[in-house]
Amino acid sequence: MAATEEDNGEFYLRYYVGHRGKFGHEFLEFEFRPDGKLRYANNSNYKNDTMIRKEVFLTPSVQKECRRIISESEIMKEDDNNWPEPNRVGRQELEIVMGNEHISFTTSKIGSLVDVHSSQDPEGLRIFYYLVQNSDIVLLLNALVLELQVILVNMLICG
């Protein structure tokens, strides 16, 4: 299914999940850049914690694998028109540039598949949900290098 453009063209990905609350603006964001740089930021003011920022370079092999995962997920074919709007509970953003396609989707946090099924676009949102759930390739890669497992796991569970 992967067109040649998807193999060779530009690839950029950014994912953000966060909310504003008692502990300030709590969020996790990571970004793959076309040059292979993976950047990660995690902020919480819980117990006066400060922003954590890390970055590392990925080899072309890892980039290719990420591209494959995105491409096979078919997320680029979706649209966030009928997805839940971000709300007080929080927001998620997924921005991807691959080949000549550029998506920047925004939605609320998704607690479980129940939220997916009750939305107006369960099929599309489902793809997003699983992709984000599975995007632990990034988190895992990060974690391995940067020893952030605990933080990441917490962020994933708590959203």
């Binding site: 080899t59 890892v62 000549n100 599975n134 391995l144």
Partner: protein, 170 residues
């Protein structure tokens, strides 16, 4: 406290290309925090980004980077029905494995198609890469390579020499 007031607008603007197909609220609304130009990741001293981005095909020097506890090797093209044991046996023959991750696709329950293997030492990891890359596992060709590299552009950008870019990783 870090909040939106501290957000720094990215130096790099989203690609504006006529042929590009664009979709999503983030691009339609263009509001704060809704497109990559507002990526919160950006720190204040974001300056020479993308400087080397255009000539990335010319000469990229990927030097493997050690992770906190070992050398990480990525195996891709792993058959979805492969078992952890298969990978462990095959790759364990090349050296001591600290850690192995075969992630599952949470929708299908099958393997996602990649494995991350952490070797204790560089030489063994290198041996696994040269020995296993391009070989077949369950009739599928797998590729094996380092997962992380040091900054491939370092040394070719004067500014990156002046400032350590990886002080957080050490």
């Amino acid at each position: 406290m870090v909040d939106e007031d501290n957000d720094v607008v990215m130096t790099e603007q989203p690609r504006e290309r006529g042929r590009e197909r664009r979709k999503g609220r983030g691009l339609r609304l263009g509001g704060r925090g809704e497109s990559r130009q507002q990526a919160l990741l950006n720190d204040e001293e974001e300056e020479e980004e993308e400087e080397g981005g255009n000539d990335r095909n010319v000469l990229q020097l990927f030097t493997p980077l050690r992770s906190v506890e070992g050398w990480i090797v990525l195996v891709s093209g792993v058959h979805e029905e492969a078992q952890e044991d298969d990978i462990l046996t095959l790759f364990g023959a090349h050296g001591h494995i600290n850690n192995l991750h075969l992630n599952l696709d949470r929708r299908t329950g099958f393997f996602k198609g990649y494995a991350l293997i952490e070797y204790e030492n560089f030489v063994e990891a290198q041996a696994a890469i040269s020995g296993m890359n391009g070989t077949k596992l369950f009739f599928r060709t797998i590729s094996v390579d380092w997962a992380f590299s040091t900054d491939p552009f370092k040394g070719r950008r004067s500014s990156s020499l002046a400032k350590p870019r990886h002080k957080a990783i050490s």
